[in-house]
Amino acid sequence: MTGTCLLAFVLSVPLQTVERESFEVWLCPVHRDEQATGLDHCPVCDREMVQRLLVPSYSCPMHQHIDQEDSGSCPICNMNLVPTTRELEWFCPNKPELTSSLPGGKCPDGRSMHMRSIAMAHGDHNPKHGGLLFMAPNGFHHIEGTLDDAGTFQLYVYNDFTKPIDASGFEARVGDTPLLPASDAAILTANIGVPESYPAELVVHVGFPGAHEDEARFDFIFASEIAAAEETATTIVLPEFRIPETSDGIFEAILNRDARVQELIGRGVWPDLYIPALEAKDLVLALHKKEGARVSAPAKKLVRAAWLLDVYGDMGNRLEVEKAYRLFEQSIQELEAARAQ
C-alpha cells in the first residue's frame, strides 16, 4: 500500500468557544498536508502539532480571503459565494506576525488578539473557472477542466489549498491529444475541436510529478459550456432527508436514491454521487435494523457500494464509478429478492 498520512486529528465534536460554530483539530503548523503519525510531532519537521479551530464559511472562488457565515455574493467581483471550510486564527493588529490558533491570547500591548479566518487544505473544492474539479488519487493535487466554445480544453492544476501551482511537471492528455503548457504556468491546454454535441465527454489522463503510480484517469462530462459551471456551483445543497417509518417506505426510498444515482452517472456529475449513495446507505442500515438477518448480505453489499461511489465520485473516474454502481445495483436486486422470500 502507498503511504497513508494523517494531517489532522480531531479531538472533539463542534465547540462553542468562539462566536461561530467551530470544531477542533490538530495540525502541523507548517506541513499541513504532510504525513503525520501521531499526536505529538510532525514527522516531516518535528514541530509540535498545534490545535486549530475550523469553521464553515462562504467564500469567493476568486478571492479566497472572503469569509462570510451566510451565502451571498462576493463584495469584490459579485460572484456567488461557495461553501468552504477555514481555519480560525488570532493575531495582533499591530504585530500581524504574532498569531495564535486558540482564542484568549493577549498582545504585547495588553489588548486581546483579534480573530480572523484563513484558507486551509482541502477546505475548498469548488471550481475556480466554472469547470469540473476533481481530487487526484494522491489526495494532494486537484485539477479543474474547462471547455470553451472554440473547443479549447484547459486543465488547471491546484494544490490541496486549491491554489494554482506550476503545471510544468505534469504529463497529461485528453484522449490521445497531449495537453501542453499555456502562457499561464498553472494551465495545460489543447484544442480538441468544437464538440459535435453536448454533453461532451472527455477522458483525461494525468501523470502527476513524483508519482510512482500509473497516470490517473478523469472523466470530464460537460453538459454545455455554461451548464457545467451551474451544476458544480450547486453541488453542496442536500435535499431534505429522513428515514421512512415502514420497511416498504424505506425500500421505496432506496429505489428513489438508485434512480438519482443513475441519473447523476448518466450526466457524469461524479462529485454529487455521494449524496444519494450515502442516503441509500443510511436507508439500508435502517432496513437492516427492522428486517434483520434476511437482508444482511445485500445490506452489506449496498453499504460497500455506496462508500465506493463516494470514493470514486470524488476522483471523477467513470470506470471505477460504473464498477461501484454495478455492485450498488446488484445489492438492490438482492435486497428485493431477500425481502420477497
Binding site: 497513508t4 494523517l6 472533539s12 499541513r32 462529485p271 444482511s296 462508500w307
Partner: protein, 352 residues
Amino acid sequence: MRSKWTWTLLALVWAGQVAAHEGSPSRYNYKRHVRPIFVTHCGGCHHTGGVGPMSLLDYPSAVPWANAIKMQVLSEQMPPWLPADGIGSFQHARSLSPEEIDLIIDWVVGLTPEGAPLTAAELEASELFEGWQMEEPDLVLAPADAIVIGEDDYELTECLVLPTGLDEPRTLSELEVKPGLPTLLRRVTIGLGDSCASATFIATWLPGQGSVALAHVLPKGADLAVEILYVKGWEDEGKRFTDRSEIGLRFDGGLTPVQSMRISSSIHTFDEDIELVALFPDPVDVNEALRIEVVTPDGVVELILAIEDYRAQWREKYVLTDPLRLPSGSELRLSQPAAWIEFIPVSRPSAE
C-alpha cells in the same frame, strides 16, 4: 441527519491510494467504537508483534493506515473471510456486519477521532499474548530440529511429521499452535498420517485463531503431518530466521467424534444418514469461484458454501454453525473438486 457542512469539502488531509469524499468529524471514535471492532476482527493478526504488518489495537499505530483500512474493508480483502455472505452459516466467521463496515468507513472519512486515550491495561492487552490460550495442553508437540527460513526465502512451506507417542487411542478435542515466529507464521494445516501429501485432514490454524475445537480420534502411535506456511513481510526480507513453533493438544472433550472424507469427484452420494459438520475446500483451480451445494433425495437443493475470490493463503476449515442433517441418498456437489468434509454418521431409529 448530517448538516450540509458535513458534506462540504472539508477533507483534512490524508494522502493515500485514494481520497474519499472526506467529511467533518465522525460521530464515531477510535476508543469507544472502532477499536472494539478491530479487537474482534483484526487483532488476532494486527497486534504488536503479530503477523500483521501493523497493529490496529492502539491509535498511533492504526491511524496512519486509515485510508488503507478503508479500501481493504470496502474491497472485502480484510478481514480475510472467504465465504460469500448470506450463504451457509459458519462458526467464527470474521466478516464484518453492514453496521461495522459503515462505522469504520465513517470514522476514516470523518477525520479518525481518537476519543479518550487507552488505559494502561488496554495498551497491555494490545501486546502479543505469549502463553497458551487454551487450558494447559495434555500434550505439546514440537519439531526436533528448528525450521530454517533462509535469507532468500520470501514464502516457505514446510512439512513436519510429529509423532504423538500415544499408547492408546485418544479423542483429540482441542488444538492450538503457539507460534515461535509470530510475525512470519501464516497458516498451519494439520493432518493425521506420516506424510503431508497423504494425511487425513484434521484442522487448519490461522494467526489469532486461538485454540481450535475438534473431535477426531487419534489412533495409538498416531503421527501428525503438519504443513506450515511462512511469509516474510518487507521488513524481514533478506533475513534468516529459525522456528520451533509448538502444537498443543487436549484430549477427550466429550464431543461425538467426527469422520473425515476427501471428496475428489464433482458429485458424492452419501449411502447413509449423516450430519455434515465441516468443509475444507481444496480446489484444483484457485483462480476459479467455488460452490458447494447439497441435494436431498427429494430434490431440494441448498447452496452451503460459495467463494467468489478464493485466496489460497486464507484457506481454512469451515465449521457449520449447526450440523446439516442429510438423509441417505443425498448428494454433495462441488463446482470443482476437491474438498474434505467432516461428518457424523447418524443411526436411523430401529423400525421396531
